[in-house]
């Protein structure tokens, strides 16, 4: 079936089987391999993308379900340089192997965009849906908390 949606600001159209998940469509049909697939059943959070601004698990959506919607992957969150959130991850050593990182970045971006004043408890609650087997989470939480200042300004200007 044909599915048309907006991906990282550009209109795309793909031909997929109905059973294809959004995650597989992004990776295999559209070449956006920044979206990582860990568990494929909604447990690890690595495949998190934004649909109409909400952080969702792309393995728990069908590609068909984003017809007409706006999808943003980790590729859509930065230009040629690192985004402030990505730079904060680097500064705080919030990744080691990096497999889980796209899911953390998309999730934290969605959170800080709507709640730039999120406190540590809220950040930990939101990030509890993403698994990381390297860092022990502490530097990830620090990176997200440190990045809040960039989003606070962005929200005031919008």
């Amino acid at each position: 079936m044909k599915v048309e949606f907006e991906l990282n600001g550009e209109a795309v159209a793909v031909q997929v089987e109905a059973r294809i998940s959004l995650a597989d469509c992004l990776r295999d049909n559209l070449g956006k391999t920044g979206t990582h697939l860990g568990c494929e059943h909604g447990v690890c959070g690595a495949c998190t993308v934004l649909v109409n601004g909400d952080a969702v698990r792309s393995c728990l959506m069908l590609a068909a379900q984003v017809d007409g919607e706006k999808v943003v992957t980790v590729e859509g969150l930065s230009g040629d340089d690192l985004s402030p959130l990505q730079a904060s991850f680097r500064k705080h050593h919030a990744l080691q192997c990096g497999f889980c990182t796209p899911g953390f970045i998309t999730t934290a971006h969605a959170l800080l965009t709507s709640e730039p004043d999120a406190d540590e408890e809220r950040v930990r609650d939101v990030l509890s849906g993403n698994l990381c087997r390297c860092t022990g989470y502490v530097p990830i939480v620090e990176a997200v908390l440190d990045a809040r200042k960039f989003y606070a300004g962005a929200k005031e200007n919008s």
């Binding site: 089987e17 109905a18 494929e40 059943h41 998190t48 698990r57 393995c59 990030l127």
Partner: protein, 285 residues
């Protein structure tokens, strides 16, 4: 971890959706948020021939609050409930319970109707619906009907829904401002399915005794259950150390929880009593 092949339709009206389900002859399934169904498909625990998506159907996503109570449209998401400030007073038990549903990303997609239809015995929404005497509005090929939550849940992932039926809304009776309540659940990691949980409320009569006691439990049977003996132990009594101890003993005696890889039955029985004790102590205020 790939679903088997199926057809996909996203009709624009409830009537079309019902017709598609009816024509599917038991081999069609509804999808909305998909947060329970997609894992079932990935594991091939479900292998429908047709998925009917509610995505384009309007008017199922409202939270309506009147003096009769609260109506939750079937497509209301957990994040919609969390973001509705009115519910903090209009139904604090619902608002608190929904804070425990899964994780951030799932709360952005999972729906009230989907959770009710999936009928996981550990899930919060079915537990709240049962505890609060909710009514479900259902549409099918035979027309519309209303079902009490107590009759709706029929076993592990089993409900009274016919293959051609769709939940359109869930109604919770009005919540008096002075009502006492608590919600407690325990999971090893935040956001996981609860090993056990308890939802409770009661009103205080003119003698400051508990009346209209409702106690529901999740994770301790093949469906959400009301704890009739524990309710009887509190009804008409002042809520104090003695009546709480009696209710906890009654609750532990009346449940017959399952053993599984997460916890043996004895642990769940003990846990439920502890959660009930803490909840009742919290409800005294």
């Amino acid at each position: 971890m790939k679903p088997s092949a199926f057809e996909y339709k996203s009709p624009a009206t409830l009537g079309e959706a019902v017709s598609l389900l009816a024509a599917g002859n038991g081999n069609a399934k509804l999808i909305a948020g998909g947060q329970s169904l997609m894992p079932m498909l990935a594991f091939r625990l479900a292998a429908p021939e047709l998925l009917v998506d509610l995505k384009r159907i309007r008017d199922l996503d409202a939270i309506t609050i009147t003096e009769d109570g609260i109506a939750l449209g079937a497509k209301v998401r957990w994040c919609d409930i969390a973001g509705d400030q009115r519910l903090a007073t209009a139904h604090p038990l619902l608002a608190e319970a929904i804070r425990h549903v899964a994780h951030y990303q799932i709360r952005n997609r999972g729906t009230v109707g989907g959770s009710m239809a999936h009928a996981d015995p550990s899930a919060e929404m079915p537990g709240i619906a049962l505890t609060c005497d909710a009514r479900l509005e259902i549409i099918g090929a035979g027309g519309r009907r209303v079902e009490e939550a107590a009759d709706f849940f029929q076993g592990l992932l089993q409900t009274s829904l016919a293959p051609d039926e769709i939940i359109t809304s869930v109604h919770l009776p009005a919540w008096p401002a002075a009502r006492r309540w608590a919600f407690r659940e325990f999971a090893r990691r935040k956001g996981d399915f609860a090993m056990a949980g308890v939802a409770l409320f009661y009103d205080l009569d003119e003698r400051r005794c508990a009346a209209n006691v409702h106690i529901g439990a999740i994770g301790v049977a093949d469906r959400p259950v009301r704890l009739a003996s524990a309710e009887a132990a509190l009804n008409g009594k002042p809520v104090n150390e003695n009546s709480i101890a009696a209710a906890v003993a009654a609750a532990r005696a009346e449940i017959d929880p399952p053993s599984d890889i997460h916890a043996p039955a004895a642990y769940r029985r003990s846990l439920l009593g502890t959660l009930l004790e803490r909840g009742l102590n919290q409800s005294i205020g």
